[in-house]
């Protein structure tokens, strides 16, 4: 069986994956490869891939590209569902656009450009992918500062995020971005080093402690960690304020309808269960629950994962609005265009440590080289 598996894996272009390893020990990318291999072994004629790159870092995506090309060369048809437009144009020969459960149209990929595709998806022209920075933006006081902070997953982290600033956190899958954010938030507390929030020394011991200090964490796993799926929009949106600042619950409840309107939430009502909302609308509820506690530092982990282009733009607008109100944002993201397009500075992580800082004018290649640890990259940074 091992030999057959090895042949199978070689046939899709990954000869060096050990067939004897338990799947749990594989990276997300490798797990996906196993899933694809499974489909190939069943002699599938059509393979559907639903957001296959959502959890992959960029260098892993290129591996997937090679596999997809190997599969199509063997005459297998691929139905590729993705939010990432670049992949759609790179890989697909025909593009079908769905909007609100209806088919908008099907076109040969050569007839569309990104702009035209976005227009079909959103139903209107989007002037730019990222809203402009406020013209008069000048970063304020230091809102979050770490000095040599570390725990079991990240080490020797020193960084500063100023009020009104968006700092991007880039790195490959497993570089420790999520771990760093949850350490700052108090979910996996730092065990060494120092941390200051708004000038005061503080190392949150628990999420509750972190929220009290003015921190907010938008997790990458919306369904598993961000929202109580069986509870309603209102219960979720008021969840944090009720738990941590009970005295402010009534005021938050009064403000909720206008907050949700500003976020352009599409739902049947405040009493709809969030599990029936689309990913983009669920993310708006996540934003609403943190806006209700008026945090001074917002930690965002993949804030636009799995949501459509229109909703993404909405999230970016909220980020701009927050920073112009003096909130500091630390955003981890695997999407380099997003990191470079939204951040005032980009920090790059590798193997649980910060390995460099880049200006937003840096190219994606610069970030990748630093994140992957290519030679000479650190010197260049």
């Amino acid at each position: 069986m091992l030999r057959e598996t090895r042949e199978l894996l070689s046939s899709i272009g990954v000869p060096d994956l050990d067939p004897a390893l338990p799947v749990r020990q594989l990276s997300v990318a490798e797990q996906q490869i196993v899933e694809i291999a499974k489909a190939v072994s069943l002699d599938a004629k059509v393979i559907s891939m639903d957001e296959p790159t959502a959890a992959l870092a960029d260098h892993e995506v290129s591996l997937l590209y090679r596999i997809v090309e190997a599969l199509t060369a063997r005459g297998i048809a691929i139905l590729y569902v993705s939010h990432r437009l670049r992949e759609v144009f790179d890989l697909c020969s025909t593009i079908t656009v769905l909007k609100d459960g209806r088919q908008v149209g099907t076109y040969p990929a050569a007839e569309l450009d990104e702009r035209g595709l976005v227009r079909l998806m959103v139903g209107r022209e989007l002037s730019a992918f990222f809203p402009d920075r406020a013209a008069d933006a000048a970063p304020g006081e230091v809102a979050l500062a770490l000095e040599g902070a570390g725990n079991g997953f990240v080490d020797d982290i020193s960084l500063e995020v100023r009020a009104g600033e968006i700092v991007g956190l880039a790195g490959l899958q497993g570089a420790g971005r999520t771990e760093l954010l949850s350490a700052i938030f108090g979910a996996d507390p730092f065990t060494r080093g120092s941390m200051r929030v708004g000038g005061e020394a503080l190392r949150p011991r628990s999420p509750r402690h972190g929220v009290r200090a003015g921190l907010a964490l938008i997790t990458e796993d919306r369904k598993g960690q961000g929202l109580s799926l069986s509870l309603t929009v209102a219960q979720n949106a008021l969840g944090v304020v009720r738990a941590v600042f009970p005295g402010r619950t009534a005021a938050a409840r009064t403000e909720l309808p206008s907050t949700l309107e500003e976020l352009a939430l599409v739902a049947r009502g405040l009493d709809q269960e969030v599990q029936f909302l689309s990913g983009g609308n669920q993310q708006k509820v996540v934003l609403a629950r943190w806006l209700a506690v008026a945090p001074r530092v917002v930690l965002m982990d993949e804030p636009t994962r799995g949501i459509d282009v229109g909703a993404k733009y909405g999230v970016y607008e909220v980020m701009r609005r927050l920073t112009s109100a003096g909130v500091a944002i630390l955003m981890a993201s695997s999407e380099l265009p997003e990191v470079l397009g939204m951040s005032d500075r980009v920090l790059v992580m590798r193997d649980g440590r910060l390995v460099g800082a880049l200006p937003p004018s840096a190219s994606e290649e610069d970030v990748l080289a630093l994140a992957a640890g290519a030679e000479g990259a650190e010197a260049a940074a």
Binding site: S228, S230, E261, L265, R289
Partner: protein
């Protein structure tokens, strides 16, 4: 895409699970009345209704507590032994006469709450699932009851036994106390912060933790309240039987019956969803079924067969509904809803 929360009027709602429970209860009542009358016996007599309500009260106490625990994502299998313990302690203290009533009640409730707190601390502190934690604690208590007490123990003075015998407007006092407890529990769930946190922790403990909820507190409190309500059930059994008994709880099968009533009432065994009102409906359905079957002298096997079928059918219905619950976006001939 411009429809926003609050901007649209509430649409025609699907029946809530609780509404279904009470429709089923009404159907069971009608059916029972027909069957009993057809057999030439009266059903809607004051005496028989009081019997149904009495049947409801004891299981009701236990099931209310079980609802809180299950909503919080745990489970309590130690309730029957807590019921027995409360009856023993109450009877022991009250054996001295009327002066022992208040101390007896307080001691029984305090010990019960203590057992519940231990359950809750094992579940939260040692991270043992409620099923196992309360199974273990229940075994320990049952061992203590079995070795320390043979047969009945202590006695309740007549002044205390009055509670078990009093009817107010045809309704047994114990049922009234039970309904008052249900109202308080519903208030706790829907009007207090602790209630919201019970739902949040039961729905997803990690989401609750990342929202800044102290996730252990609601679980411990739910377990303590559950055991206290079981203790109350034990005291009311004592008022009815007048002597403490080490086996009265396990004879009643209150562990599984209370879980069945809670689930029949529409509470999700996985936690995070449920209501006390539904539980009361579930308890009432069981009480009516039991009453009818004993009036009709149905044989014991058929009795359990019917009980079992009701539970399985009800849960199958809820499972089917939860699949159907996602509102369709398109209906033939209509504009798409958002």
């Amino acid at each position: 895409m411009s429809a926003v929360v609050g901007a649209r009027p509430v649409r025609r709602r699907r029946l809530s699970t609780t509404a279904i429970v009470f429709i089923v209860l009404a159907a069971v009542l009608v059916l029972s009345a027909v069957l009993v009358t057809a057999a030439g016996k009266p059903f809607f007599t004051a005496g028989n209704l009081a019997a149904v309500l009495t049947l409801m009260s004891i299981l009701g106490f236990v099931a209310i507590g079980q609802t809180l625990v299950i909503i919080a994502g745990s489970l309590d299998l130690s309730v029957p032994y807590v019921v027995s313990t409360a009856s023993i302690i109450g009877a022991g203290v009250m054996a001295q006469g009327p002066a022992g009533i208040v101390p007896g009640v307080l001691a029984a409730l305090a010990v019960s709450a203590g057992i519940g707190a231990v359950n809750g601390l094992i579940v939260t502190g040692l991270r043992v699932h409620g099923f196992i934690a309360t199974l273990g604690v229940g075994l320990i208590i049952s061992g203590w009851l079995g070795t320390s007490f043979q047969g009945s123990f202590g006695s309740a003075p007549p002044e205390f036994r009055v509670i078990g015998a009093t009817l107010i407007a045809g309704v047994p006092l114990s049922t009234i106390i039970m309904l008052a407890c249900a109202a308080l529990a519903a208030l706790l769930l829907h009007r207090t912060r602790l209630g919201h946190h019970l739902y949040a922790v039961g729905g997803s403990a990690s989401v609750a933790r990342l929202s800044g909820v102290r996730t252990k507190v609601p679980v411990v409190v739910a377990h303590a309240l559950c055991s206290m309500l079981a203790g109350l059930a034990g005291l009311l059994l004592l008022a009815r039987t007048s002597v403490g008994s080490p086996t009265i709880g396990s004879q009643g099968g209150y562990d599984l019956m209370s879980i069945a009533a809670v689930v029949l009432g529409g509470t999700l065994l996985a936690g995070g969803v449920g209501s006390v009102l539904g539980t009361i409906g579930g308890v009432a359905i069981f009480a009516v079924l039991d009453n009818v079957m004993s009036v009709l002298e149905v044989n014991p096997f058929l009795k359990d067969f019917i009980r079992g079928s009701v539970i399985v059918l009800a849960v199958a219905l809820y499972a089917w509904r939860s699949v159907q619950r996602r509102p369709p976006r398109f209906r033939p001939g209509k504009e798409a809803a958002p």
